[in-house]
Amino acid sequence: MPELRASRRGLLALGGAAVAGAAASGALAGCDGDGNGSKAATPVDAKVPFYGAHQAGIATAAPARLAFATYDLTVSGSPEENRAALRELLQTWTAAAAAMTEGKQVPGDSTTLVAPPADTGEAYGASPANLTITFGVGPSLFDDRFGLAAKRPAALADLPKLPPENLDPSRSGGDLAIQACSDDPVVAFHAIRNLARLGRGTVVMRWSQLGFGKATSNGSAQETPRNLMGFKDGTRNIDGTDAQRMDQYVWVGNETDQAWMRGGSYLVARRIAMRIEAWDRDFLADQQHVFGRYKYSGAPLTGSKEFDTPDFGAKDSSGQPVIPVGAHIRLAAHENNGGIRILRRGYSYTDGIVSASGELDAGLFFIAFQKDPRKQFVPLQRSLGAHDALNEYIQHVGSGLFACPPAVSGPDRYWAQELLG
């Protein structure tokens, strides 16, 4: 849509000066907030309960760091043998995850001098720093290897093609997924590393992604963080403490065709590469029109404060919508999507530079939780994919879909026990 873009730009350039003024005043406030937030020390006892009804790491306010990994099973036996191997793996993993979220070492002997320590040790003595370890299973688990096809939830349908996307198979999919979040990056990495090691011979890591500077707020108590484009992200997100909305949009309820998923949620992960260099060259007013918000205050273009409700009907003096037709917040808004909401929990990422171009390899590792991706993420992304002005600056390059079962209720249970039991 080059012509659309050109006209939008032309229009915006005219009003640029006024917009720039508003933005500058917001900048100071933004700086203050940042300074206070990033220096808060993590208390040693910052622990998130592992056992319960719902898995931690979904409603839980997102800590600063992410380590995400997907794993493929390498089993080659009969479905019964393969299920037994998977069961054993999940028993081991669940026990290790419970220990790590408590700030303890991976169970086993780590002091015998003549044996490799059971725990790799890099998080030894560190606070768990709000570590959560969230587990999910991908659509591929329900192929013929495990004899589980009849237990595949309808909501775990493979994601359809969602143009414009350019998915790299080596950064997509996986039989199992682990989302580890903590305020300490070492603690988060330690989790996916030790689970990989414990699964050696049964699983191999398929891909992994580290994330920093939680790019999306999911709690009312949090200062809304910014993505790498410099915009606040998650202003209108579901607040994890809002039990009613969590039940309505995020937790799987009685509507599911698979009882083992009741109390769980579906995770969609998308590695969204940003064309950072091009974005950084875009003039401020255009950046703000792409999002539909002021860069520094985070207010919608029709408001003055971050949490003002956007007025999608508002027109300027020339009769054009104040929040442009292709603005990201317009297309993503629940008002414009039949009331659809998702819980987002994204993180910024960078993996150095793209060797072919020398440009930064960075973007948003988008994570969303929901009741049913077919009715939530998929229609939302179709709408964004078709019209979002942001598409000029981003590309979806990796993808994953996982069914996260409910939490384990106590130490005698393991992840997805109802699925495998």
Binding site: T74, T112, L113, V114, G125, R197, R200, G201
Partner: protein
Amino acid sequence: MSRPVPTRALRAAALLAVAGLVITGCSKSKDDAASAKGATKVKIEITDDGCKTTPSSISAGAATFEVTNTSASKVTEAELLQKSGEIVGEKENLTPGLSGTFSLRLEAGSYTVYCPNAKTEKATFTVTGSAAAPSQDPAVKTALDQAVSGYKQYVIAEVDKLVPATKQFTDAVRAGDIPGAQAAYAPARYYYEEVEPVAESFGDLDPDIDARLDDVEDPSQWTGFHRLEKALWADKSLAGMSPIADKLDTDVAKLKSLVATTDYQPAQLANGATELLNEVASSKITGEEDRYSHTDLSDFQANVAGGQKAFQLLVPALQKIDPQLASQVTQEFTDVLDALKPYQHSAGVFVDYSTVSDDQRRVLTQKVDALAEPLSQVAAKVTG
């Protein structure tokens, strides 16, 4: 121009001092003390004059050596050598302010603490008495005794084959016969790669025989198989290579005489097997080992075969200690060797490694990792 240098050096020293404090702090924590429970503590203080070992005599059994360098600038490592000269433990790269530990189980005898570049490089260290009799099933003890003597015979036999195989290779080099030398290269290396961890325990012998270009500071001092490999495949000239060929023969002969009198402990067999697998993952699968000839898969097979031999010798004992681990590791060895088969033309002859894709290499690595992880548990099981 000269000013920034001392400033920088100073700053680096200060940083190291801080790092040293951190390490010292950690080593005093409760759990580290617990981890060395029952082990005799020995302090080795590195100084430019020599290494001070306190105490200089201990009783046989588990020992933890704490090596510290407070201010020595010329000496940065301490090694513990057996009477035969074999390194049994060491701590390297200890610049001033740093400390580190190594732990091992020592039999009675006379040892040497070796601090290279110190004024007095060597000091005697004595271990007296005998280690408390391991509470081991006599049948296990017998099986382990057979394992270590079997391994000694195996190493001697493979090095016996290495000597003439190397001679065939070096003869071709001396004769300027490039195709002949190329054909003899991988078969000769095979016997070396089977027993590499043993060769590595003899100080400079392994670098002299098997160093790669990036392992040597001065390329003009580079010797061994890979120097000749470069001449054969990259330079395509054997000019000036006869002295290198002669030295390789000498070094291999040295290895032969050393292995004739070297004895092993059960844990060394298991750890050596794990090291061989680590070798595969770190240098064969990356294609670094034989970067000019692309014969990496032959070395790969030799490493796995050498590790499998050591493990198989331990199996009778391990079956009595942990039968599940014994059968798991046995199966994983089979899986790795099976995974290699599609790349084999005929016995010992493999496809050019540069034709193996990244995806294929990844699968091979994952098989090796799946084997090496449980294999790394074996040493503790067979240690009395």
